[in-house]
Symmetry: C2
Subunit: 121 residues, 2 copies
C-alpha cells in the first residue's frame, strides 16, 4: 500500500472531486485495473486467495493482495483467515460490496450495448 503524499494538488483535487462527485467516490473504491475483476470473481461466491490468483493469472501477487487489502479497508470485501498452517484465507463480498453489483451490472450492460453496436460509437 504505497504511501501517498499529503500535500500535492493532485490529492487536493481528488479530495475536491470526492466531495463534489459521488461517481468519483465510487471510482475511488472500484477503480484500478484489477479491482472490478476481483469483485466480479467474488460476486459468484467467496474464494480463497489462491483461487483468485489462479482465476486471474495475469495479475501479480503484489497487485492482488494490494487491491484485496484496499477493498477490505474500504469495507467492500471481508477477509477470513483460519488459524491453520498452511494458511487458509477466504475473501467474500460484504453487504456494501454486494450493493455495488447493480453498478457493475449497469456498466456491463452498457459495455455490451456498445460492443453490439447499439450506439453508433
Amino acid at each position: 500500500m504505497t504511501a501517498i503524499k499529503e500535500s500535492s494538488t493532485i490529492q487536493e483535487n481528488k479530495h475536491y472531486a470526492l466531495e463534489k462527485c459521488p461517481v468519483t467516490f465510487v471510482m475511488e473504491k472500484i477503480g484500478g485495473y484489477w479491482k472490478p475483476i476481483i469483485l466480479y470473481h467474488l460476486s459468484t461466491g467467496d474464494k480463497r486467495y489462491s483461487e483468485l490468483k489462479r482465476a486471474i493469472p495475469a495479475v501479480t501477487e503484489k497487485m492482488l493482495i494490494q487491491h484485496l487489502k484496499q477493498l477490505e479497508t474500504d469495507g467492500l470485501v471481508i477477509r477470513e483467515a483460519k488459524p491453520v498452517v498452511p494458511p487458509f484465507v477466504t475473501y467474500s463480498l460484504s453487504e456494501a460490496g454486494k450493493g455495488l453489483l447493480p453498478v457493475i451490472d449497469a456498466m456491463a450492460a452498457w459495455a455490451f450495448k456498445v460492443k453490439d453496436g447499439v450506439y453508433s460509437v
Copy 2:
C-alpha cells in the same frame, strides 16, 4: 492527449482487462478525476466550454479540453462549434453518453447509501 506506448506490460494488462472485463471497458471511458464530473454537468443539458470551466473551477484548462476531446473521440459527447468569432463551442451528451446515465445514477445511489450509513463501512 498523451501518446501511449504500444509495448509495455501495463498496456498488455489493460488490453487483457479490456477484453475480459466490461467494467474495465467502461472505466476506460469514464475513468479519470474529471470525466464523471464533466459528464454530470452535461447530463443537465449542453454547455459551452466556458460554462463548464466556470462550473468546475478546480479543473485546469488542459485537463478540461483533454478529457473533452477524449470523451468526444470515445463518442460520449458531441462538440459543436459555430464558425464565429469569438468562438462559440457547445458540448452535449451523445446517445451513448446518455446511455451511461443509469450507470452514473447507480453509482451515485450507492455512494449516498454509504454516506447515509446504510452499509456499515
